[in-house]
Each structure stands twice: as C-alpha cells, then as structure tokens.
C-alpha cells in the first residue's frame, strides 16, 4: 500500500512557495518525488532589458533579500568587465566586507530555520538572537537590515571610517564567541543530531553529477567555492583573505549545517582581516563608465553557492541580454536524491538544508 502526499505550495511547514508531490510506502518512506515550481516567477530577466544600467543596480538588489548584495555586486563586475574598468582597491575591499556580513546573516538564518524544523527551539531562538547582532550592524553601517545599496558601477557608495570599523569589530567580537559556543551546542544537542545525522544524504558522485555548489557541495566533500577556485575582487588581489573552506564527507543535513558554521566563522575572520588593513584611496571612480558592445561572464560566491551573471551589451544604455544563475537553480535537483528513500517526516528538514531560495530561482 502506498500513499500520496502533497506539500506546498503554501504550507505552514514550508518556508517558501514550492509544491512537492511525494509517494510513500507503508513505512512512510518516500518512493517518488516531484517538485513543481513557478508560483512566483517574475520575468526579471526580461525586465532588466527594459531598464538602463543604473536602474538595474537597484533591480538586481531586489532579486532576493538574503543574498541581495551578491546580485548587484556580480552585475557591477560584469558591467565593469565590459567597460574595461578597474575599480579602486578600497572599493574591492568594501565590497568584500559587505558581502561577508551578508553571508553571516544569511547562513545564521538558515541554521535558525533548521533548528525550528528540528523542534529544537532553544537553539533556534539563540541562533536568531546572535544573528540580530549582524542585522543591527547592517542597520548602523548601511542604514538597512536587508538591502544595503553598497554597489555602484565603478565602486561602492559607502565608506568606513575609524568609528565604523570599531563598531564592526566590537560586534564581531560578540558574534564570534557566541557562534563558537552555539556550534558546540549544536554538536552536543542529541535532539538536533537525531534529526539531522544520516538524513537527506547527497553522495559525492551525485553532487558532482548534478553540479551543486556552495554549502550543499561542501557538505558532500566538493570544494567549488568561487572565492577559492576562481577568486575575484579582493579575494584575487589578497590571497590571504580567501576562506579556508570547511569540507564534510557525510553529505547529510548535519554536514551542511556544520559547513555553514565554518562559513560563518571564516566570514568573520575575513571581515576582520580586511578592515584591519583597509586600502587607502577613493571608493569609486568619478567618471561614469562607457559601456560598449560586448559580453561578459562573471561569478561570485553567494551564501548558497555560485552566482553567475552573463551580460551582453550592444552599446546602448540597456542590456541586450542579461542572464543569471543562482545556486539554488542547480541545488533543486539534488533534493530528489536527498529525499528519495528518506522518511516523509524528514522532507521539510531536507528541503531547508539546501537553503532554498525561490525568489532567486524564479527570477
């Protein structure tokens, strides 16, 4: 005897709008998975060709909230490549600081959701409380808790002075010690481990074949962190700030959570290193860029993995074609491997473990 189970698209157990059709056997083991998307598709790739290059800085920041900084960052890199522009070193550093701050906040949000779904609510509350320091930091430095408006074409629109650097370092001191203590609690929580260890396994061979990136790849033993394999911005200029990535081989929900802890601690280290030796100079080029006909492919490491932008221009004020691939786009297919053969009760946990971003996927 088998049963059919529908989850989503709008379900209290599900954080995002996606629809799962599952088939399960009498032991409530999933025997078939179907994923249906398309509930919030916004046609943004069409829309960006109707906006000029400046307007698209604002639009790309609104593709997604949690990795909102990565989109304009990567988009700006693509425009700058076509224009043949080298932005000031200080701007490269400032872009990296903002991006790593977002990474900490994003990864912590995913961990909080994971502990919520594991019904370990003390851990969830503590994770969110620590994350709140990063939200405060964003508000103080950039004036907003999500969209930071850091990037402009040819540099950054924000700068750091000694006072702001002191605020950043003070916050990071608190967050770092709290994150280390929190990680120990996760590692020692029997309730959390019971719900995550051996759950939603993605073997390395499948991870390679599907082409997953980010913490999902690293949880299955694959390091394709763009900051390491194809370093950009300050990661290319100063090799010492590149992350020492956390790799796990288990490929389960627990491994992916621990990889995110590694990412968070490395992000904190990177921010501290960069602000301790912030290059002098301007934060942007005064001259507006001339954007000739051309094409560029650039990529960055967002909190969920590789973000790639393809930009084609024709010499006008608008992109002829702009295309981007977000990490979740390829990570979705991995869910089928993770969910198949696992318990129905684990499905939402497994879904959360890829840190799915539907607003990114359904541009």
């Amino acid at each position: 005897m088998s049963e059919k189970i529908a989850i989503g698209p709008f379900n209290p157990e599900l954080e995002e709008s996606v629809y799962f059709k599952l088939k399960a056997d009498e032991n409530r083991i999933v025997t078939d998975v179907e994923i249906i998307n398309g509930f919030i598709h916004r046609g943004m790739e069409g829309l960006v060709t109707k906006k000029n290059f400046m307007q698209n800085l604002i639009l790309t920041e609104r593709v997604c909230s949690l990795c909102s900084n990565n989109h304009p960052f990567t988009y700006a890199m693509a425009v700058e490549k076509i224009s043949g522009i080298k932005i000031p070193l200080r701007a490269e550093a400032l872009r990296v600081v903002a991006d790593e701050v977002k990474r900490v906040a994003s990864d912590m949000f995913n961990l909080a959701m994971l502990t919520h779904l594991a019904h370990t609510h003390d851990l969830m509350k503590e994770t969110m409380n620590i994350r709140e320091h990063m939200q405060d930091l964003k508000e103080v430095i950039w004036g907003n808790r999500m969209d930071m408006s850091v990037n402009i074409l040819t540099g950054t629109k924000y700068d750091l002075d000694e006072g702001k650097i002191e605020i950043i370092l003070e916050k990071l001191k608190i967050v770092e010690s709290q994150v280390r203590a929190l990680q120990e609690k996760y590692e020692n929580s029997e309730a959390f481990k019971e719900k995550t260890i051996g759950v939603g396994v993605l073997p390395k061979e499948d991870a390679l074949s599907i082409g997953v990136t980010g913490p999902v790849a690293r949880g299955s033993g694959i390091n394709n962190d763009v900051r390491v394999i194809a370093p950009y911005s300050l990661y290319a200029i100063r090799p010492e700030i590149r992350p020492n990535v956390t790799l796990r081989t288990e490929g389960d929900v627990y491994a992916r959570a621990m990889v995110r802890f590694g990412d968070i601690l490395e992000a904190i280290r990177i921010i501290k290193d960069v602000v301790a030796d912030l290059p002098e100079g301007p934060t942007y080029l005064e001259k507006r860029p001339h954007i000739p006909a051309g094409e560029a492919v650039v990529r960055t490491e967002a909190p969920r993995g590789e973000l790639i932008y393809y930009l084609k221009t024709d010499g006008s004020q608008k992109p002829e074609r702009m295309r981007w691939k977000v990490p979740t786009f390829t990570n979705w297919e991995a869910l089928k491997v993770m969910i198949l053969g696992d318990k129905v009760d684990n499905v939402t946990m497994i879904l959360n473990s890829i840190d799915p971003c539907i607003s990114c996927t359904e541009r």
Partner: protein
C-alpha cells in the same frame, strides 16, 4: 588543466570548424570562448567536460534580430570557465540536449524550452519548469513591452507586425 589540454581533448571529436578564444577575466581567471559552427558538436564538448568531471554551470540564450537563436553553454572544469556558443538557424528550434551526458544542464535546457520555445531533443524531462501550462512557450519573444510600444515607435509598424505575427 588548461584550455590547451581541453582543446586537444575535443579537436578530434568535433566534426565542423570552430574557433577558440582564450581569455582571462579581470582578475586573471581563465575564461575561454569556443564558437561552434555546427550545433551538433556540443555533444562532443559535453562528453569531454564530463570526462574531466566538469559541470554545466548554466546556459544562456538570446534571440538575434533575424529570429535565430544563440545558445551559450557555460561549463566549469576546476575553476576554468568555458563558454561555448552554439548557433541555431532562424528556422531551427531544435538542439541536442546534453542533459543525458551532464545532468547539471537539466534545468537550463528546460528553461530554454519555456522561455524561447526551443526544444532540447533527447532531454529526459518534459515537465514544465516555471510557467503555468496555460502560458505559451517562447515567453521571452511573445509580447511587446509597453515601453517599446509607447516610446518613439509610433511611426513604425512594430506593433502592427507583432499583432500580424499572432494572427498568422
């Protein structure tokens, strides 16, 4: 792994002429471009990417003024980005799916089907990806934007031609 090694791996398996442009990005990372003249040669390239344990990062598509399409597959092998241009003729809506060789191309090829009404022949999945089945395929070319219809185009036939296309 470098682009010369990859070129040696593909050159005997590619039937038609192609060009290879070895490039680096602004930060010195290899970012090469291969331009195919025969769309079917993408299969040989996909096999080589697979042999090197590479992946299809994504595929970009754009429509040329004459109605033909260009597919650009973006592959990654150990951090080296290889962009492969696959031209389709204006009356050609089919291309060989490489998803059976590189499953990482799965969603990208399905999205080309939905957005540009191109058919990845041999793709293992026929399901829609994003758009409701009631919406026609080829969404990116289907409608005329309000801005295009309103701004500076009132003395052209662009809107009328678009409507006529629909009537045909």
């Amino acid at each position: 792994m470098n682009i010369e090694e990859f070129n040696n791996a593909i050159k005997n398996n590619i039937v038609s002429q192609y060009t290879l442009h070895d490039d680096v990005d602004s930060y010195g990372n290899p970012n090469s471009w291969i331009k195919l003249t025969n769309k079917n040669d993408i299969e040989a390239i996909a096999k080589s990417v697979s042999a090197y344990k590479g992946r299809c990062v994504v595929m970009s598509v754009y429509r040329n003024e004459d109605g033909s399409h260009m597919l650009i597959y973006h592959f990654d092998i150990d951090g080296m980005l290889i962009n492969v241009e696959v031209p389709l003729a204006s009356d050609d809506k089919n291309f060989i799916s490489i998803t059976p060789i590189l499953p990482s191309a799965n969603w990208a090829e399905r999205e080309a089907r939905e957005m540009y009404n191109l058919e990845p022949v041999g793709h293992p999945c026929k399901d829609r990806l994003f758009l409701d089945p009631s919406m026609p395929k080829g969404e990116m070319a289907e409608y005329i934007s309000l801005s295009k219809a309103q701004v500076g185009l009132s003395d052209t036939d662009i809107l009328w031609n678009k409507v006529n296309e629909g009537i045909k």
